[in-house]
């Protein structure tokens, strides 16, 4: 059926053409990360699954792929780090700015694998953005999941994203634990100081009945995976998300393949067991 995936989630007919959306709220998370709330004339642009992506564009500057970090009744949220032309332009934009948006793309998190299990979320820096969509989903469907445990780190206290969630909202949720670390503290920081992988090993959450979901800078992921293996997690129990350069988002432009897999379509979410089957080229 033509473009069924898109149609079911309520979006436009030609998957390469954006609709016009509008920034309705901007939250400054850190000196270089802002969260943008985006809506369209007809309300929410579409209804993504946790972990799905969208192409966001500032006309005429450019277009790039971002995780949809959360959604509300009428809007989608993107946490965007300033790294280049497009992201700088977005950081300069004010509420009311119209932008282009198309999606949703990608597979999203495997909810079925997570259901009924305890979930361990391990994030670093902006890497909490994709994971947050799943965390919020679990909170909204609390009875479907076991214990929720977030281990999150950033370079410094001021680089922590989603501070309201980390310190206010999430700790209040039933059976939910949040542990935060920073690479380097400051005079006001009384929490843990140290890298995420070491902090993880220190807390040492048991792999029993658990699924671990990790996302962050490549170097953090690399060491987190080693720590998880040491702690007895199997590759089937570990879920992560990948980033590749993307243009089309729908598996046509050829840009984002790893072997015969297209990250924009078959990913960005993979279990470690799946990644182990793929060529090491990411």
């Amino acid at each position: 059926m033509p473009n069924q995936a898109l149609a079911e989630q309520g979006t436009v007919m030609n998957p390469l053409i954006p609709v016009v959306g509008k920034i309705i709220k901007i939250v400054e998370e850190t000196p270089d990360v802002k969260t943008f709330h985006v809506t369209t004339e007809n309300g929410k642009p579409f209804t993504p699954l946790p972990g799905q992506l969208a192409m966001v564009s500032m006309l005429p500057i450019g277009e790039a792929m971002f995780s949809i970090t959360s959604q509300g009744e009428n809007h989608l949220e993107f946490a965007i780090k300033k790294v280049g032309m497009l992201t700088e332009a977005l950081h300069e934009a004010a509420v009311g700015q119209q932008i282009g948006i198309r999606g949703p793309y990608g597979n999203g998190f495997p909810i079925e694998i997570c259901k009924g299990k305890d979930l361990l979320f391990i994030g670093g820096g902006i890497g909490l953005a994709p994971v947050r969509s799943l965390i919020n989903y679990c909170i909204a469907n609390r009875q479907d999941f076991g214990k929720l445990h977030v281990i999150y780190g950033a370079r410094s206290p001021q680089d922590l994203c989603f501070k309201d969630d980390l310190f206010e909202n999430w700790p209040k949720v039933m059976d939910m634990q949040v542990d935060v670390t920073v690479d380097k503290g400051d005079e006001n920081w009384s929490g843990n100081v140290g890298f995420v992988p070491a902090f993880l090993e220190q807390i040492n959450p048991s792999p029993e009945g658990k699924v671990a979901i990790t996302c962050g800078p490549p170097i953090m992921i690399k060491f987190v995976l080693q720590s998880l293996a040491k702690m007895g997690y199997t590759p089937e129990q570990i879920i992560t998300t990948l980033e590749m350069r993307m243009k089309c988002g729908i598996g046509k432009c050829g840009r984002c393949n790893i072997g015969s897999c297209y990250v924009c379509l078959d990913g960005p979410v993979f279990t470690l067991a799946q990644l182990n089957q793929m060529p090491n080229e990411y």
Binding site: P15, G96, I99, C253
Partner: protein
Amino acid sequence: MLGVKKNNLNNFLEKISSGYQLFVPAEVEGTTRFTAYQAGVQLALERNTVVPPKELFFPQTEHMYCYKAHKQEAAVEEIAAACEPRVLFGARPCDVQSLAVLDDVFLTKGYEDLFYKNKRENTLVIALGCRKPEPTCFCSSLGVDPSGTELADVMAWDAGEALVFEAKSDKGKKFLEENSAQLEDLAGVTQPTAECTMVLQVEGLTAKLQKMFEHSLWNEICKKCLNCGTCTYLCPTCHCFDIQGKTRGESGVKFRCWDSCMYQEYTLMAGGHNPRPSKKERVRQRFLHKLQYIPERYGKWGCVGCGRCVVKCPVNVDITRIIKQIGEVSLDA
């Protein structure tokens, strides 16, 4: 068989072009490619075209939408992907097979590319059987029959003094009926057959490549490649594209254009990380894409054996030699 005498061919094409937009293989500015039929066009029917017909379905640059941006406001207007009914005349069996590869890419796996789909659906394909495959042709090793293809709407053959036709689809049958006034029954004329002289062993190639990602062969193969991209632009199955914009003042147009995995920029990410940082990874990607990844994903070869890259590579990186080299690799060593 039903056919057209060669001295009548121009009349025949003229007639078709009054009902359809007709594309024919022709000499154009020092090369050969498919071009819109018009009086005086220099038909090139002897050998396959240098430029494949892919550009009729997936143009080198293609406008997608217009936009306006003024202060905080933005507007997007789709450029309709509409297409008049067309006839592609004279595509060789390998290039018709390449359309099957492009169909898989652009029309399956959940999303349809409407720009491609509109052109594809509105184009009737008349394939032309090869009489004498070139020394660089190896389509028969990859499951293509140079004498003819079932994937076209109409099959045509050069039978010496005449071109003869056979319908291969309902659409093709209707087309021949529509044009029956132009066709005569050429008693005794039969379709010629042809075979590639080059034969390659490809059995088990994909399975073998699955074990060769880290093999030292790629270090060797990549050495002389210039990463010029010629091979990818001339390949009838290469489909990678970039999305770019042209802006004038407050408005502009977004278009897509061919891109190539041979370029370093292609996979370069924010922060400077590049999963394919050197020639080795890029050359490996190209050959694995054709011979392993497309077969894994779509169940057919990503190379149709047309030999264009073999002929046009400035430093003679030769996919047929590489297929042989892969065959000679012993994996136990």
